[in-house]
Structure formats: structure tokens, C-alpha cells
């Protein structure tokens, strides 16, 4: 276990290092490195001073090493727009994104599992067929367009829910959260549902497929034979066995939910990391872009590592040696 973990951590560090090289090449070779350090309206003199003071005339590998040593110390440059260290701006926005992503994942499980269970237990019912057809739609509908239609319907036409922002927040563990106030929850509802829609379809199809495999098993027949009610059979024997792959998929898809929050946050003006990166790209706030990319790489590598760990804990059949 320890050696497996060590190997996995080394792999994770290697991925992060590889990404620093890619981001460095992206900024310094493909992009204009001077523009990264200067606001777009800098004069020619400022430009020359920056080139000299940041050693942009030095060989590339030397520049990379100094970028890397800065990155290790958490120094990824200062944002032009916020005049603050870029990394701290990102860390301030991170809770909003995590809150949205967790809410979406919760919705996906709370809605997807019961629907999938129903479609799996009664595969030939009209309801199950409608759900399966609906899930194809759920896969095909572009997230951003669904978000627009939701705003149009629930905010503009019906006026039920607000169209954007985080609403009133309350402090918990030193961070502001929306889900603790009623107003915050109302603001969270639409973006979370928007982000969850694709995952609801995914979880539903997965649970349906699992259920159909579990229902004909001997132990389910035994449970029925000993006279358990249908509800008890489904709750204790069918549901529990369908949940293992759901846990895996929730872990694996969490990263993709964070990635897609870029879209949802932009539509619903949710002040998280995703909206921040889009704004930064439009404002050419390049230190911010570099910092975001490095932060997201570390976040993803961490998520992948945790999922791998959870997977081995939940399913002992996975051999750690490999």
C-alpha cells in the first residue's frame, strides 16, 4: 500500500511538472512573454525595463527554472486587474466553485439514482422508456444553451428564481457560503441544476444498467423467496450493490463538473474560479491565466489521486501492485 501510494504520488508530481513545462511553453514560446508581465497599455520604455529586469534575454531553460522556483513558493505573479498576488485571488474564488460543483454532484446522485433504479426495475414501462429517451437529450443538450433557456423560463417568464449572482452568504469555517441562507439557496438552485443535468443522465443510465444486472441474481431471488417486501428487496439488496460504481463515477466526474463550471458560472454570473478565468482571458490578465492553469492542474491531480485511493478502498478486487 505504502509503495503503491508513493509511486502514485511521484506520478502525480511528474504530471504537475509536465504541465508547468507546457504552460511555460504556452506563455513564453507561443504567447508573448513580455505581454505576460506588462499591462496591455505599457510604453516602450517600460517594455525594455521589464525585459531587462525579468531576464527575458536569458536562455529559456534558465527562465523556466526561475518560473518553477516561483511556482513552488506559490508566487505566480500579480494580477493586473486586482493588483494582488494572482494565486490568492484564485483561492478566494475557489469556495464558490467548489460549492457549486458539490451541489451539482449531490443533485446528480439524488435525482439520478432513484430514476435509474426505477428504469432498471421496470425496464419495459412507459416511464422507463421516456426516461431513457430523455437521457439522450440530457447528453445532447449543450450546457450553456440549457442555462440560457432556464434563465428565460424561470427568471424572466415565471420570475421564480434569480438569474445570477450568489445571493446572501453566511460565514462557515472562515469562508462565505451560499447554501446556508435561503436567499443563497435560491441563487444556487438554477446554476446547480444546469451543471447537474448532464451528470443526472449519466448517473441514471449507469444505475439502470447496474440494476438490470443485479435484479436477476440469485441473492435477489432468495430475498424475494424468503418473503421480503418488494421495497425492502430493492432498498437493501439491489440499491446497495448498484452504489459502488456510482461512487466511482462521482469521483471521476467531479473534475469534469469543476471544468464545466466555467460555462455555468459565466451564464449565471456565479463569482467562482470559472468566471474569473474567462474574465481574465478577455482582459488579457495573463498572470491570472497562468495562475489559474497551475491551480487547476494541481486540483485535478489531487482529485485523480483521491479517486484512485477511494477506488482501492471500496473495491478490494483492484490490485494495488499494478
Amino acid at each position: 500500500m505504502i509503495s503503491w501510494l508513493a509511486k502514485r504520488v511521484i506520478q502525480a508530481v511528474a504530471v504537475v511538472l509536465a504541465m508547468t513545462v507546457i504552460v511555460f511553453i504556452g506563455v513564453n514560446v507561443i504567447g508573448d512573454p513580455v505581454a505576460v508581465l506588462l499591462p496591455p497599455d505599457a510604453t516602450h520604455d517600460e517594455r525594455l525595463r521589464v525585459i531587462a529586469s525579468f531576464g527575458l534575454d536569458r536562455p529559456l531553460w534558465e527562465q523556466y527554472l526561475s518560473f518553477l522556483s516561483g511556482a513552488i513558493r506559490g508566487d505566480l505573479g500579480r494580477s493586473f486587474v486586482f493588483s494582488e498576488p494572482a494565486l490568492s485571488v484564485i483561492l478566494q474564488r475557489m469556495p464558490a466553485t467548489l460549492e457549486l460543483a458539490i451541489a451539482a454532484m449531490l443533485l446528480a446522485v439524488l435525482v439520478g439514482v432513484p430514476l435509474g433504479l426505477y428504469a432498471g426495475v421496470r425496464p419495459n414501462s412507459a416511464g422507463a422508456k421516456a426516461l431513457m429517451a430523455g437521457s439522450i437529450l440530457g447528453f445532447s443538450l449543450p450546457t450553456f444553451w440549457v442555462g440560457l433557456v432556464m434563465i428565460m423560463l424561470f427568471s424572466v417568464q415565471l420570475g421564480w428564481l434569480p438569474a445570477g449572482g450568489r445571493g446572501q452568504t453566511a460565514e462557515f469555517l472562515g469562508v462565505q457560503w451560499s447554501f446556508l441562507t435561503l436567499d443563497g439557496l435560491r441563487h444556487l438552485a438554477l446554476p446547480a441544476l444546469n451543471l447537474a443535468l448532464f451528470k443526472i443522465s449519466l448517473v441514471m443510465r449507469l444505475v439502470r444498467a447496474e440494476t438490470r444486472e443485479v435484479v436477476p441474481q440469485d441473492y435477489v431471488r432468495t430475498a424475494r423467496a424468503k418473503g421480503l417486501s418488494e421495497g425492502a428487496v430493492i432498498r437493501t439488496h439491489v440499491l446497495k450493490n448498484t452504489l459502488i460504481p456510482v461512487v466511482t463515477i462521482v469521483g471521476l466526474e467531479f473534475g469534469s463538473v469543476i471544468a464545466f463550471s466555467v460555462v455555468t458560472e459565466t451564464i449565471f454570473s456565479w463569482p467562482g474560479m470559472g468566471k474569473l478565468i474567462i474574465d481574465s482571458i478577455h482582459l488579457l490578465d495573463r498572470p491570472m491565466i497562468v495562475a489559474y492553469l497551475m491551480a487547476i492542474v494541481v486540483l485535478f491531480v489531487l482529485i485523480n489521486l483521491i479517486v484512485d485511493l477511494l477506488y482501492t478502498v471500496l473495491d478490494p478486487r483492484v490490485r494495488l501492485e499494478n
Binding site: 437529450l137 449543450p142 450553456f144 444553451w145 440560457l148 473534475g255 474567462i278
Partner: protein, 299 residues
């Protein structure tokens, strides 16, 4: 693949697959819809009521008219107009051109690159295989939208840049599939036979391995075209995709976004419907292809 006619009506595998495909009304419906959409996009300059990017033909006084309004010239704006008085129906037909161009060209380029690398990995094995597959793993451990976002943040907007970003995002799926099926095919006797009578590696790769790896790759191509179209639309919506001069469906939706809150829904809504219909049609075809081309379902 046996040459011996076992059934009374001897058919090639292709004919069998086509027949099985036609057996699903839903898939045939998808195919017909997609054919219509492609025809509309190709013929846009001749069938669109106006050229939406010829400023001479636009009347700013006709801006933001609801669907069904009449223009001063007598033309009817069936799907309304945008803020510059552009007929939305024409804009959608022209937008489809860009969306389909980006979707198909990126999927085909990614298929060519990914398949070649996958075949090489399977055929060469050893260190080449490990290097290529490590790259695939690295690529697939990050969501497509993030990678595309990153590339476009470096390169800037542009149709060419979007296609490049999509190719970089998509090649890994082809490489993985091509390698998997090439590994199976490689052990078969016809490859051994081809090698034993002295065929070059190149010939074995492309003349013998590739054709036998095509069925699963066809499924991936279909799925990836739909994904590419949706991803391009998303990127353009975020303002990172195509430039204003070449608006795709995604950019049209983005332009209408600001008018949504004032109830002028049509500027965003109808381009979205066009996008949705395109993606659903391709996915219906892909779903059926997956069933038909699955070797487990072969008779």
C-alpha cells in the same frame, strides 16, 4: 469476414451493416435530418433570404423584431432579427456552415493523427508504445473543455485555432481505440502472412491493419463530430472560439444572450434549436452505429 458464402444470400460485411443500420427508424430519421442540415448549410448562399453579412442588405431599423415580422422590403423575418436587423434564419444557415466545418474538419484531422499514432503504438510496441500511451493518458486525465480553453487562451480566437484546439483535444480517443483493436488484429494470421511474404511495415500498417480497425473508429468519429460541434459552440459562446466575422451557432447564441433578460428570446433560442437538432441527429446515428458495428452483435 469469411469469403465462403455460408448463407443463401451472400453479402459483404458492409452490406450487412448498412442493412442493420436501416433497420432502426430512429437512426434513419437522424440520417435524413443530418443530410438536410448539411444540404442547408452547403446551399446557404443560394437559399438564405438575405446575406446576413452584407451590410447593404441589413436595415438597422428592423433590429430586434420578433419572429414573423415583416420587413419594409416585404420580406418576412420568420425567426425574427438580431440587434443589427439581421434575419435570424439567414444567420443560422450561415452559422451552420461554420459549425459543421469546424466539427467535421477537426474530427477528421484528429482521426487521421490519432489513428496513425495508435496503429504505430500497437505495431511498434515497447518504448514507442509507452510514450504514445502516456501522452494519451495525460490528455484524457483533463476534461476536453479545460484543455481547449487553455490552448485558446494562448493562441487567441480564430477558426483555425479552434480547429487546432479541437484536434489536440480529440486525437487521444482515436489513438486509444485504434491501438486496442490493432493489438487484437496484429496477432491474426493474415498479418503474419503479409509480413512473411515481405510486405513493408508501412504497407502492413495501412493496407492490412487499418481497414480491419475501422469499424470501432467509425463510431468514435460520429460521436466526436457531435462533441466537436457542441464544444466549438461552447467556446464561441464564452468568447474564445470563432471571431465575430465568422459567427458559428455558438456565437449567435452568445450575441442574443444579453437580450434574453429583456424577453427577446428568439436571438438566442433558435440558433440553439439548430445546434440541438444537429447534435441529436448525429448522436442518433452514432448510437445505432455502435450497435451495428459491435463485433459481439455480428452473426
Amino acid at each position: 469476414m469469411s469469403a465462403i458464402a455460408s448463407a443463401p444470400a451472400a453479402r459483404t460485411p458492409l452490406q450487412r451493416a448498412l442493412r442493420a443500420f436501416a433497420g432502426s427508424p430512429l437512426a434513419m430519421f437522424g440520417l435524413v435530418v443530418l443530410a438536410c442540415i448539411i444540404a442547408l448549410a452547403v446551399l446557404a448562399p443560394w437559399i438564405a433570404p438575405q446575406n446576413p453579412y452584407d451590410l447593404m442588405q441589413l436595415d438597422i431599423m428592423d433590429g430586434q423584431l420578433p419572429p414573423g415580422s415583416q420587413a419594409a422590403t416585404g420580406m418576412t423575418y420568420w425567426l425574427g432579427t438580431d440587434e443589427q436587423g439581421r434575419d435570424m434564419l439567414s444567420a443560422i444557415l450561415y452559422g451552420l456552415r461554420i459549425s459543421l466545418l469546424v466539427g467535421f474538419s477537426s474530427a477528421i484531422a484528429a482521426a487521421a493523427i490519432g489513428t496513425t499514432l495508435g496503429l504505430i503504438a500497437a505495431y511498434a510496441g515497447g518504448r514507442t508504445d509507452t510514450t504514445i500511451m502516456r501522452l494519451v493518458d495525460l490528455q484524457l486525465s483533463f476534461p476536453a473543455i479545460l484543455v481547449a480553453l487553455m490552448i485558446l487562451a494562448f493562441l487567441g480566437k480564430g477558426v483555425g485555432n479552434v480547429i487546432l484546439a479541437l484536434v489536440i483535444v480529440e486525437w487521444a480517443a482515436y489513438a486509444r481505440t485504434a491501438r486496442a483493436s490493432a493489438l487484437v488484429q496484429r496477432r491474426k494470421e493474415y498479418i503474419e502472412a503479409a509480413l512473411s511474404y515481405g510486405s513493408s511495415s508501412l504497407r502492413v500498417l495501412f493496407r492490412h491493419l487499418l481497414p480491419n480497425c475501422l469499424p470501432p473508429l467509425m463510431v468514435i468519429v460520429t460521436v466526436q463530430v457531435a462533441r466537436a460541434i457542441a464544444l466549438e459552440a461552447t467556446l464561441s459562446f464564452l468568447g474564445l472560439g470563432v471571431p465575430v466575422t465568422e459567427p458559428s451557432l455558438g456565437l449567435l447564441i452568445s450575441n442574443g444572450y444579453q437580450h434574453m433578460l429583456s424577453g427577446k428570446f428568439w436571438i438566442s433560442f433558435y440558433p440553439g434549436i439548430a445546434l440541438l437538432v444537429t447534435v441529436v441527429a448525429i448522436n442518433l446515428i452514432g448510437d445505432r452505429l455502435r450497435d451495428v458495428l459491435n463485433p459481439r452483435n455480428a452473426d
